[in-house]
Chain length 237, copies 2
Amino acid sequence: MAPGTGRTPLSSSRVLVAAVELADEAGVDAVSMRALAQRLGVVPMALYKHVASKEVLLDGMVDQVLIEIEDPDPALDWRAAVRARVLGARRAVLRHPWARRAIESRTRRTPVVLGHMDAVARLLLAGGFSPDLTHHVMHALGNRIWGFSPELFEEEPAQGAALPDPEQQAEMAREFAQRFPGILAVATAATGGDLSAVGQGCDEDFEFEFALDLLLDGAERLHRAGWTSPARSTVHP
Amino acid sequence: MAPGTGRTPLSSSRVLVAAVELADEAGVDAVSMRALAQRLGVVPMALYKHVASKEVLLDGMVDQVLIEIEDPDPALDWRAAVRARVLGARRAVLRHPWARRAIESRTRRTPVVLGHMDAVARLLLAGGFSPDLTHHVMHALGNRIWGFSPELFEEEPAQGAALPDPEQQAEMAREFAQRFPGILAVATAATGGDLSAVGQGCDEDFEFEFALDLLLDGAERLHRAGWTSPARSTVHP
DNA sequence: TTGACGAGGTGTACAGCGTACGCCTAGCGT
DNA sequence: ACGCTAGGCGTACGCTGTACACCTCGTCAA
């Protein structure tokens, strides 16, 4: 505000936004207190007046991504609504490639995080699910609630590795085929037989929806069958 | 060997074992090159003669956990076999509390990692699954292949936080109930109505098997229905 | 016996990290 | 006019991973 200095003062929101931008541009590892401070034209310790610690900063960055999630059309039935909200989360997370890792590594449940979980839970409850079944279904969805599936297969196989030598490469391929025939079969199926594209062969969006629908199918079946959780013993074994 | 010094020389295996022990005792964050070296009675840089970097060390530690996985009885049918192998992975991972996080954060696919994935893939293929369906099912299983589900809900809510004050606590509970009624309903269902145990209310083993069976059920149904993946366009949208 | 060699342990040093602590200054309420 | 406080600054500490040079053995060829 002060026209002399001409610098709008920091705020925790300004810090968070800058941190997200920095992570978007240079990856989450590039977000150090020092780098972030420099980007804001400020000395590192100034940040601590607005965020308590780096951990809290990361929590806030995740929040920043999650608040982009849109509410689904309230006219949808439970299944379409859950699907829509989860895919909305996916869109938000995909906009920020670092967010997946960041979400996995966070343990604190901020109000924003709780808000999304609450929204999903309410959609299921509104669909007639018992709280019990809702609970288990949310567990089964797991991180898919946040819009991503775990990276089972490698994303970027080598990047700058510069495959060493065709002869040696063929030898490695032979050995791989012998040691891991199962993976080979699965990978070639995924790429339609194109061995050279094994790494990038997965259509992640398809995999995500495949698993999501598998889980929602199962949930629907259990719901319709009136599933209830087996009696719980109150004593530990 | 040399009786004068009386010190068995290092080896990458000895380093890995020591690192796993250290992580078991003090957590994975306590595994620094310096701390590990000290435990081995050696100077930090000596480790680098046996492991290329900290990243590789962590990969090796994960391998160390994964080689504990037992092969399932070959007489089992595909479903029981997959179930057994995945639950075997779970037992191995649960023996080392840090392993879950470590596996999530690793991106390199070591031979040991590939070996486990290969074993699961082969069980499905041997059960008559097409490579295509096998691929998608493995994606759907996701990290559950490694024997853990994502920590959707908090594990240790406060630990040493020392709840501040009964009055204030009740106020927070009121606000929570108003903002997150869905979560509250689900959480109380999970604990059988005992609000004070909301954090620890989940039987993780039950949740794991619930989700696993949901996924295997779905997979079985698709398999029996002769599911095949929709035709793939070779051109991107 | 000698001498080279390589494997493996040592020591020093550097750049980077998060952050505790104290200082300084501008704006505001009394 | 005064003091309080919010907020930015500077310094410093302990920790991290690891590059690089060095030294010291055990082994083996000549």
